[in-house]
Amino acid sequence: MNFYFRLQFRLLNRQIKDFGLHPLWGWLLGAAGFVLLSWLLFSKTGMAIYLYLFACISWLLQLSNRSRTNFLRITFPQGSLRRIRLVENAVVAAPFVLFLLFKQSFIEALLLIPAALLLSFIDHAPRIGTTIPTPFGKRPFEFLTGFRQLLLLITATYLLEGIGIFVDNFNLCLFAQAALFLMICSFYTKPEPLFYVWNFAYSPAGFLKEKIKTAIWHTSILTLLPLAALLIAYPEKWWLAGGIQLLGYAYIIQIILVKYVAYPGEIQLVQLLIFAASIFFPPLLLGLIPFFYSRSVNRLAIYLS
């Protein structure tokens, strides 16, 4: 069992190294990022506690993934399997519990501990057997797979925006809209296998144009409902809602280009930091989008003619 955890630690360190960081820096930045995001969430909305618990439980359910738990079951004796699952869930829940204690949410923190341990007894995360219908079938694949994977979270942002309108909190609505755009950006953060790019009978520029066109169209479909609700509820703030929408499009275009700059490798830390910088200082987009465009065209020229 000890070897299993040492191995997991080593694998995580390798992932951090592949990301271009020394493992120590990776752990420090990861911890700082977690605290920063938690703090941001709690400073933006009174619903943060529910979102926080939801995020923790979603993560714990990921550990109950069927193929993963099947592997553990055929590899370890029953006793070791239980201990492994308990320790894993405790490790994942620990930072959430600590932050909740820091925020003096004692009841929630104390409830999360037994909940996390109990979830370790679920060996198969609920799997939706039927195919989830989507409006994105005509142009697979990022929105198809992303929408189905993040359906619960997308629904949560819709609900959050609804709550924002109901309690007349415009900032909460904007937060939900921004969260939705971040989720859409996440559809494009993982490089697809080379086979899928190779298959396209497009020039690099044509390929990127097609990707961007599809992304904008599908983003419009996914954000239409919350945007319309926002415009109806706050018609006088149309410029702010519209501005966020346009910025969202720009960030999605940028993340597509960033993905193909590093392709077929993973997005590098430097590019991710530049992306993050553009969130804090949007005018950077004016220079970054053409820059990443020319870099990604060069990169794709290796695989597309």
């Binding site: 195919t131 142009r139 697979p140 694949f141 797979t145 994977q149 298959n199 009978a201 003619s305």
Partner: protein
């Protein structure tokens, strides 16, 4: 036709393909055999343009990659993509309309289910269906019979024969010699990164005998099974 001239490929210091030359004619079916690690998949990746290489690969239809259907040994599928959506994705990639996939579903695949829930054989059949629907002129079939049931093996053999009749150029690798025997016009033996033998259909039996002698030899005795 695909013409390969002086193709070489190395990964660092490791030479995987050494000065390979071959001509694969229109309407020809060519088997590529070799041990695991002989370089078959690297050769296919070079032909497909996925790997950079030394030497030249030319074809009548250019660019070759846009007219090539590549069935990989282990096709990858995104999670939560259905069979029908996968077909659509690959057809769209080649500007081909997806015409009645249900009607072309000769393997009777559950096209509305997620492809990741398919068995190994079903995944292979879905990937094969996709490259057939792309209406390619060239095909690389890397282990097309692997993990596929006997009935579908018969069907795949018939498909290859039909493609040959339609004048397509087909390269196949298989570890099951009988499948190559039935479909190929020529077999190339790839050893240590080079084609060491080119055998015409009339001599397939001889090649099989020779391979048995070379690759089995006294290895069973060496195992000292008890």
């Amino acid at each position: 036709m695909i013409q390969i001239t002086s193709l070489s490929k190395s990964f660092g210091n490791q030479v995987v393909l050494k000065n390979i030359s071959a001509t694969f004619n229109t309407g020809g079916v060519y088997g590529i055999v070799g041990e695991n690690g002989a370089g078959k998949t690297t050769l296919f990746n070079c032909i497909a343009g996925i790997e950079a290489h030394e030497g030249q690969i030319t074809a009548h239809h250019t660019p070759l990659k846009n007219h090539l259907g590549f069935l990989q040994t282990e096709p990858f599928f995104f999670s939560k993509i259905t069979g029908a959506e996968y077909l659509k994705l690959l057809c769209r990639a080649r500007h081909k309309p997806v015409v009645q996939p249900e009607q072309k579903n000769i393997f009777e695949l559950p096209l509305n289910q997620y492809a990741t829930t398919y068995s190994t054989g079903m995944k292979k059949k879905l990937a094969l269906m996709a490259i057939l629907m792309q209406e390619n002129d060239y095909f690389i079939l890397d282990e097309p019979f692997n993990g596929v049931d006997i009935q579908s093996n018969l069907l795949i053999t018939a498909i290859i024969q039909k493609l040959k009749a339609l004048g397509k150029t087909i390269l196949i690798s298989s570890h099951i010699f009988s499948t190559l025997h039935e479909t190929c016009d020529e077999i190339y033996l790839l050893q240590n990164g080079s084609f060491t033998k080119r055998v015409l259909r009339a001599d397939f039996d001889l090649l099989e005998q020779e391979m048995k002698q070379v690759f089995i030899g006294n290895k069973i005795e060496q195992l000292a099974l008890k």
